[in-house]
Point group: D2
Chain length 147, copies 4
Amino acid sequence: MSKNKDCLHQGETQIRVRYGETDQMGYCYYGNYAQYFEVGRVEAMRELGMSYKDIENKGFMLPVSTFSVNYKAPALYDDLLTITTRITDLKGVRLCFEYEIKNEENRLLATAETVLVFVDKNTMRPVLPPDDFVTILYSNKPELNAE
Amino acid sequence: MSKNKDCLHQGETQIRVRYGETDQMGYCYYGNYAQYFEVGRVEAMRELGMSYKDIENKGFMLPVSTFSVNYKAPALYDDLLTITTRITDLKGVRLCFEYEIKNEENRLLATAETVLVFVDKNTMRPVLPPDDFVTILYSNKPELNAE
Amino acid sequence: MSKNKDCLHQGETQIRVRYGETDQMGYCYYGNYAQYFEVGRVEAMRELGMSYKDIENKGFMLPVSTFSVNYKAPALYDDLLTITTRITDLKGVRLCFEYEIKNEENRLLATAETVLVFVDKNTMRPVLPPDDFVTILYSNKPELNAE
Amino acid sequence: MSKNKDCLHQGETQIRVRYGETDQMGYCYYGNYAQYFEVGRVEAMRELGMSYKDIENKGFMLPVSTFSVNYKAPALYDDLLTITTRITDLKGVRLCFEYEIKNEENRLLATAETVLVFVDKNTMRPVLPPDDFVTILYSNKPELNAE
């Protein structure tokens, strides 16, 4: 589990570009990156100790509120991509992520940011995250707590 | 609303191939046709008088049980496709559909069949369809009922 | 064809949310909006008089360079969405778009921006857009030219 | 590398169901399995010694000609699926695959078959596979050659 001064948690995961994810330009279609970032944050949270599925089972949902991506170079068919995901902040009901995608030559292909919002499944209203998630998130980052 | 000797209901709808649905061959990716057939049956049911959404709101789900498709010629980017959908049979809990996709030159690109199963949302078990759906389905086909 | 003080061209198109585009939250998955915005700009360009396909046939590609989206309320299954697309600027090799998605109750669900880059298909390098595209784009906007 | 009396090659690969692949039933959408089978055959061919990408680089394409799938039980969000892919036959220009998908409880979720056709990228016509692919395919199966 990675620790980093600038974020609460950092994880890495790999994804191979599927044929069905390419378009007729021969690029990975720009819309498919959203799923890659989803995989990035899901694996980062699993590694942290509380999976996205766990959070849903506790009665929460985490819809995406804002999403921005900067495409620097195309991902191509069969490329094995490395997605670096950082949980950068928890601000009330909002959980903030940053992402980088690199290919096997270590070339930076894309950077992105998303903000997700904790929502109560019953009321469908924004709600503070479960306590144990907060505990895990900050216990993972003792240097920050010490400051 | 179309009537046809060989089926309970027949409908037509049009879909334009999106850029994100092409692959690097320059073809519409074979996996995207499943969504096209979904649109075909959803619009056929809406035209029949009971939408797929109505059926879900009555407490039913309609997962796909079997799906087969025969790709005859590629659909290409920006092609305006015509999907002909036939509801061919209702056998107990199973609802059977057949499909044809043609392009603007009236060339047959694909044929397919699906079987969907009525499932009770609470028990998650196969269940007979709602009575009013059956009534609509057969009242739409007086010639068949008369035979 | 719509004219507007604040943009070079504005178009509207409609999309119905497919079942396969929902996720288990019951929302249209956040990643599927990229295809909706693609349809928005493709139809806006077709209406302008030069389709995206025409531009590819002239030897250009238009990959997306940056994409940001603000999700305000969920799009739901079977919602008939109206996508308003504005071509806001042509800056050298870059073509800028803004989007709004509303549902049938006229509720604003999402806003977004993309920047696309004209690329030469042979050299794979950024290149100025074809002259006739520029002509069409500005002839569509006499008020701006007059300023 | 697996050998099996009933097929030319057998491979296994794993895929985790993404959130964006679920639908509002809470199931993996039926249309997304096509990508899973694609990953299954791509990894089976890579393991065999000639990747799908290699084949495209030699001037061939492999569009899908027929596809049928039998859905037995739903794949759910975050399920880690095991896809078993068998190359069952090479008949002239046609390459035949069979698939099974099981979840972590070893429950069989789906079976499927596809037929792919070797196509020459230049002529866009069906063509016999490259010799070295045939050699690899059969050298992988000495028992069959010996019969």
